[in-house]
Amino acid sequence: MATIGVKGSQELARLRCLALVAQGLMHAQPFGRDCREHGKRLTISVMCKSILFRSAIALSWRFFAQGRDLSTPQC
């Protein structure tokens, strides 16, 4: 198995960051983990994107469907 020697302080700093990320402390909210907060933000962001995407689809559908009879196949 390969062992990588850490030579510089830069690598040690990265290792520190990894340790903090693993503990959920890199973007930590005060007094706790940010997972829940981050999860909330992510959910809201996904919801907003989803609403925007649906609205865009609906608007473009209306725009392109205007004046056409959608019940019959188009030639």
Binding site: M1, K7, A19, L20, Q23, L25, F31
Partner: protein
């Protein structure tokens, strides 16, 4: 991973699994110059890391990031031990010191007590240990952190008893007075 787990079977199983993954190359060993070995996901050191946050975090003494004393010493150059189990005469920092994390470094510790009846937070001693960091930034981050901490502890005022290095005392006291709104 199996730190302080007494289940020998579990420890053996985890060791075997880790060795297998090391052999497969999905994990790799990182050896520090002082000889300590850490195991990380392969290529983890090459991945971009999250941006460092300028906020200070007041941690619990039982936080997972500080319970492994040796690892903490090696990685962060920070010697931390909760001293409520240490006889009073041998305590160095205080009964219930909380570690202070700023960016990617443990910059100090704070021994405090919340007096719930008076809604008053007493900081018995506050230590800033890291050299070479911008003290103004650290003080600012600490003030922000302590404001949130007071809310969390339902305290309206802060009393700062001792701070090390002493030169930070005056600035901290006036900043706390302005921020929390009471005379420290």
């Amino acid at each position: 991973m199996t730190y302080q787990r007494r289940n020998a079977e579990l420890r053996r199983a985890v060791k075997t699994l880790v060795n297998d993954k090391l052999a497969q190359g999905s994990l790799e060993q990182i050896k520090l110059t002082r000889g300590e070995v850490f195991i990380v996901k392969a290529g983890a050191l090459e991945h971009p890391l999250p941006r460092l946050n300028n906020r200070m975090v007041i941690l619990s003494p039982f936080d997972n990031s500080v319970i492994q004393r040796e690892r903490l010493k090696v990685l962060f150059d920070y010697d931390y031990q909760i001293e409520c189990y240490v006889p009073a005469a041998r305590r160095q920092y205080g009964y219930f010191c909380l570690p202070l994390l700023y960016r990617d470094a443990f910059v100090g510790r704070m021994d405090c007590k919340a007096h719930r009846k008076d809604r008053r937070l007493k900081i018995k001693s506050l230590y800033f240990e890291q050299q070479g960091l911008d003290e103004d930034q650290i003080v600012k981050a600490f003030i922000d952190a302590i404001k949130g901490f007071c809310l969390f502890q339902e305290c309206d005022s802060v009393f700062l008893q001792a701070v090390y290095p002493i030169r930070l005392g005056q600035g901290l006291c006036s900043a706390l007075t302005l921020s929390i709104g009471d005379t420290p």
